[in-house]
């Protein structure tokens, strides 16, 4: 398989957890609640899913448990931030810490085990397409699920009554409340869905990607998901593109030496060789998602007409009816 095809194939599968977690985070943030606990919820989903799969022998049960695990942590976040008006930043960081701690602690017994995870499902016909075929049409059920979820989430957020209400709550909860929108119910629901999808993302990692459990196996992907939402400026199509972009960087970093060889050969100028060696170094590449997010932020804040860009206006503000 050519370098390109292999990279593309990895990209698609690496994008799944990012996509799932980021979609969950978009939903939560659009209702006005920042969730910095995604990393912890992903880990909870990864361990919960893996453990359940090992104990019951069913990967789908595992997947469901992973979702529940994420939701449980999210419930904590919701109660603290929505009902008790706690600081969203602190609550999120606390939940990540809790997630890391609890999963490392309870996951000890599961290190070293492996299962037969989700298998690739090839779509006959489509899988024959050169290059794209194996990349896009021979992936696991969870990968297909995450892709299918994208238009669904888009539709719900932008084409339904509830989506309009979610937007209103995230922009101006007071106006929404006066108009009779159930602000607290909506925020709770969005945070829980965010946790559910984060849990799903984690479960995908342990059940469909690596097929084992390892301490802190999410390796910062939860944080990348948070960055991704900001990078995409809270819109779905840039989210999809950004997920693939970041996943692509991740995929390239795994094949770094081959990629560097290829690029250096391509460019041919030996003077530039060390520059490319640096730019395509795996760890250096792993900084790009974060740097790009800052760049986007900086760019957005410099715009004078920020009406169409930027975070939901009431993000981070806790709404108190008094």
């Amino acid at each position: 398989m050519s370098l390109f095809a292999a990279t593309l194939e990895s990209t698609v599968r690496l994008a799944t957890p990012l996509l799932l977690a980021a979609m969950g985070e978009i939903i939560a943030e659009r209702s006005g609640v920042l969730n910095l606990g995604v990393e912890g919820m992903m880990l909870a989903g990864a361990l919960g899913g893996f453990a359940a799969a090992v104990l019951t022998g069913s990967i789908w049960v595992g997947f469901a448990v992973g979702i529940l695990a994420g939701m449980t942590l999210a419930l904590l976040h919701a109660v603290l931030c929505i009902s008790l008006n706690a600081d969203q930043v602190i609550s999120g960081i606390m939940l990540t810490l809790l997630g890391v701690g609890l999963t490392t602690y309870f996951g000890r017994g599961y290190v070293g085990q492996s299962i037969e995870g989700f298998q690739r499902i090839a779509i006959p016909g489509l899988v024959e397409i050169p290059i794209l075929g194996t990349a896009l049409f021979s992936i696991t059920a969870l990968d297909y699920l995450s892709l299918l979820l994208v238009p669904v989430v888009w539709y719900v957020l932008f084409r339904t009554n509830i989506g309009a209400e979610i937007t209103a709550v995230g922009e101006d909860p007071e106006t929404a409340d006066t108009a009779g929108v159930p602000v607290f119910h909506i925020q709770y629901a969005c945070v829980l869905i965010g946790g559910a999808l984060a849990g799903a993302a984690g479960a995908q990692l342990s059940l469909a990607f690596t097929n084992f459990w390892g301490v802190e196996m999410t390796a910062g992907r939860g944080w990348i998901a948070v960055a991704l939402v900001i990078f995409a400026q809270w819109r779905i199509i840039p989210l999809l593109g950004g997920a693939y972009f970041f996943a692509g960087i991740d995929a390239l970093s795994f094949r770094s030496s081959a990629v560097r060889e290829y690029v250096v050969d391509l460019v041919g100028i030996s003077a530039l060789e060390s520059m490319f060696q640096f730019l395509l170094n795996p760890q250096v590449m792993n900084t790009y998602p974060y740097l790009l997010t800052i760049a986007v932020l900086w760019y957005v804040m410099r715009q004078t007409n920020r009406n169409e860009l930027g975070a939901p206006s009431a993000l981070l503000k806790s709404y108190d009816r008094e």
Binding site: L80, I90, M94, Y105, N281, L297
Partner: protein, 365 residues
């Protein structure tokens, strides 16, 4: 019988609550953390005894505590100072790494006697951390970019980039993602016991300096005023621009020094996981110590006890050190609930399904 919960704002906080709250928080956290311990058939009382009594009262145990508290204290201040000005520095971990890297690089490439090398390392690390910390401060001051996000992104940039450096330009001869052992001239000498390095003297210096800064200087006055009301501060002629950048520079400075001290004093080399997330625990330290530098120090010592003890009991009692992370997280959790309890009076009344009683709940302003 339906419980009816009414929540009203408190006018002032009763004394027992404002003193009892931190203690209650810690007790609650320890109580909940005993569940995972029991799950693994470990006796929590034993563990807590070991953690809070046995360990810290031995010389080596106490030394461990103080040594661990240093980076927690410095990073805690790195969060605390911007917090006093109303800003969140979530980038302490990244600033820590930047200081560690620059300090270690100097140690590895500059040949000087200890008396000159160590101060040089510290100063360089501090400046590096300060410059790195200035970035989110500047972005916020000049472009109103949310400092939470920018400092968070920069943290992961720093930690990831360090991974590159440790596999590349700074890599030692062992072939792992670590530097060589820093030259002897760069190692911080021990004081009192082999496990305590001379850097702990900085704790006192920094504590005093921070206290004086916040409570006796012009700058401290301005920081505190902005933190309380930025609009009033601006109208009074205080420059929020300058202060925002300054507090982040100071925070980065402290975190950078914490980084190099941890490398040169504790480990003797720079390797990828040299920090168990000090910069993030620092957020909890700053929160717990919200009322003053002294309290930040106490909070750092408390978490130092936990962290240092945790490493020890991992070996002696086979308790996974991850439990410490759990206790830290639970402490924060209960701190947040305590905030709510302090600000609100919660009345639980038991009402029967009595229509008359129900209709008495009239509207109120």
């Amino acid at each position: 019988m339906i419980p009816e919960v009414t929540v009203t704002n408190r006018e002032d906080v009763p004394q027992w609550l404002s003193y009892g709250a931190p203690l209650g928080t810690i007790l609650a956290a320890l109580l909940v953390a005993s569940v995972p311990l029991l799950w693994l058939n470990i006796n929590p009382i034993w563990v807590y005894w070991e953690l809070f009594v046995s360990q810290p009262t031995t010389v080596s145990g106490f030394a461990d505590v103080v040594r661990t508290a240093l980076p927690l204290f410095f990073a805690g201040l790195a969060v605390y100072l911007p917090l006093k000005a109303g800003l969140w520095n979530i980038g302490a971990e990244g600033q820590l790494f930047v200081g560690a890297v620059v300090g270690a690089a100097i140690a590895l490439h500059v040949e000087l006697p200890s008396l000159l090398l160590i101060p040089l390392m510290l100063v360089a690390a501090g400046i590096a951390g300060a410059l790195y910390g200035a970035i989110p401060g500047y972005l916020r001051a000049e472009h109103d970019v949310n400092e939470i996000i920018s400092s968070l992104m920069l943290t992961f940039t720093a930690t990831t980039f360090t991974g590159y450096l440790l596999r590349g330009p700074l890599q030692g001869s062992s072939g792992q993602s670590a530097t060589d052992r820093l030259p002897d001239a760069a190692q911080l000498p021990s004081v009192l016991t082999p496990r305590l390095h001379v850097g702990v003297g900085l704790i006192v210096v920094v504590a005093l300096a921070s206290y004086i800064l916040l409570n006796h200087t012009r700058l401290g006055y301005e920081i505190v005023f902005i933190g309380s009301n930025p609009a009033a501060a601006t109208q009074a002629g205080i420059s929020t621009y300058k202060i925002y950048i300054t507090v982040f520079v100071l925070g980065g400075l402290l975190a950078g020094i914490a980084g190099i001290v941890e490398v040169a004093g504790v480990h003797g080399r720079l390797f990828e996981d040299f920090s168990p997330g000090y910069g993030f625990t620092a957020v909890a330290v700053a929160l717990l110590g919200r009322n003053g530098v002294g309290q930040v120090l106490l909070a750092a010592l408390f978490f130092g006890v936990l962290t240092a003890g945790g490493t020890t009991i991992a070996v002696t009692q086979n308790v996974p050190s991850a439990l410490i992370d759990v206790i830290v997280a639970l402490t924060i959790l209960f701190l947040l609930t305590a905030e709510f309890v302090k600000d609100h009076r919660i009345n639980i009344a038991w009402r029967g399904s009595d229509p008359e009683a129900a209709s008495q709940t009239g509207g109120s302003p």
